[in-house]
Symmetry: C3
Subunit: 171 residues, 3 copies
């Protein structure tokens, strides 16, 4: 039975470090990045994360169809870190638009997690604990990201909230 580990937490709460450490339990490791370097700040963040991982991970990049990428993960891989679901939620919203198509993509991820190709560690973010955003698009993003978190956490075998670098067991 494969592990499906869900990690959430605020900005700079230690989620990615926890994911890297949790992945040490497995031999052959892959990393599925959902972020695209659309500006310098993002490019710098992506580089910083890549540096932290070193060359211990085979890297895949896919902003939207992560279910398809997961389905073709080489069978030699023991664990894949998906980082992160919140950026993926934003990509779905900005690239797909329609609620129905977005939810189709979420359902396809859930289907893969039901029968995963290897152990999977999914990193997400808590973005719904601040003041309600004035911007309608931001509220919609918050709703989609929160819905994804609920569904993926529900489908996981283990879930953690990171807070100031320390893990709180959710499941």
């Amino acid at each position: 039975m494969a592990d499906v580990v869900f990690l959430t937490g605020g900005a700079r709460s230690g989620k990615s470090s926890f994911a890297l450490k949790r992945a040490e339990r497995y031999a052959e490791k892959a990393f599925l990045a959902t972020a695209e370097p659309f500006d310098e700040e993002m490019a710098a963040r992506i580089d910083k994360h890549r540096e932290e991982r070193g060359d211990r991970f085979e890297t895949f990049e896919e902003p939207v169809d992560i279910d398809a990428t997961l389905r073709v993960i080489p069978s030699s891989i023991d664990v894949v870190i998906v980082d992160c679901l919140t950026v993926w939620a934003g990509n779905l919203l900005y690239k797909l638009g329609s609620d129905e198509i977005i939810m189709n993509h979420v359902d396809r991820l859930l289907a893969v997690l039901q029968n995963p190709p290897c152990n999977v560690i999914l990193v997400s973010n808590e973005i719904g604990m601040g003041i309600v955003p004035e911007n309608a698009m931001a509220r919609k993003f918050r709703d989609i990201a929160g819905t994804i978190n609920q569904k993926v956490a529900g489908a996981s075998t283990e879930a953690w909230l990171l807070c100031s670098g320390l893990p709180v067991k959710l499941k």
Copy 2:
């Protein structure tokens, strides 16, 4: 001894679903809604919530004087869900204004919770874990909502933080 259950969490964290499920322990159920459908988005959210509840709940609507509504809950009712305290905090702030009158309303709710008419499940929101809002009114709202959360959680017999649909026991 009646249960007074306090639930908090971010947007789309599963609070309302948890409340509905928690209420299944009791036979006759009521729902006290504090939101008013002041725009289409809010009306859609209210309709969605009403649909999820189905016709298993007697519904009451009261934006401000929820203590008075709780006092006249029919004696046939076993549990009432109050959803939600954060919208209520906003109503108090925008409709009453003065801190003293707002705090009087909070104290009146606490008095009802000391001797509740039936089991009560109160749904709230975490809104204070983002960046400090630039807007003074938003900061004030955050302070009032946080103060209400502390007081009601303190008066409850059971309290939970929902995170990605999963409950963390606070009390």
Copy 3:
């Protein structure tokens, strides 16, 4: 072995009250305030906090070089509350600017916490669980504050997340 207690939580989550109560275990108490009363609202908040503490605490004020203040805490003191690290993070960002100098200050605090002059209770804030701020400076502040939280929580002997006035044990 001195206690190093790290407390975090959202706005109005009961952090300062928990800190004051936790400090009651010790006889001689001090309070290190990092906030400066730069406007009326802040002055009012500082006054309110000072009132809550009463005259049971010897008060020190230092916005930037808190490691230096901690090093010269009188040896008669049993516990010092540092309130708060998030305001301190803001002070470092606005007064020092350079990442390198900021991180030097953080390292100097960590060095003091390795060998503390007395028991220390450090109050911080969760500010990274809302929507990503549009403002680049706010994102940078969020990163620094989150990094400080991780480092100080990692160096502490005990850590708590406050939520609606109720503590969740992190460590």
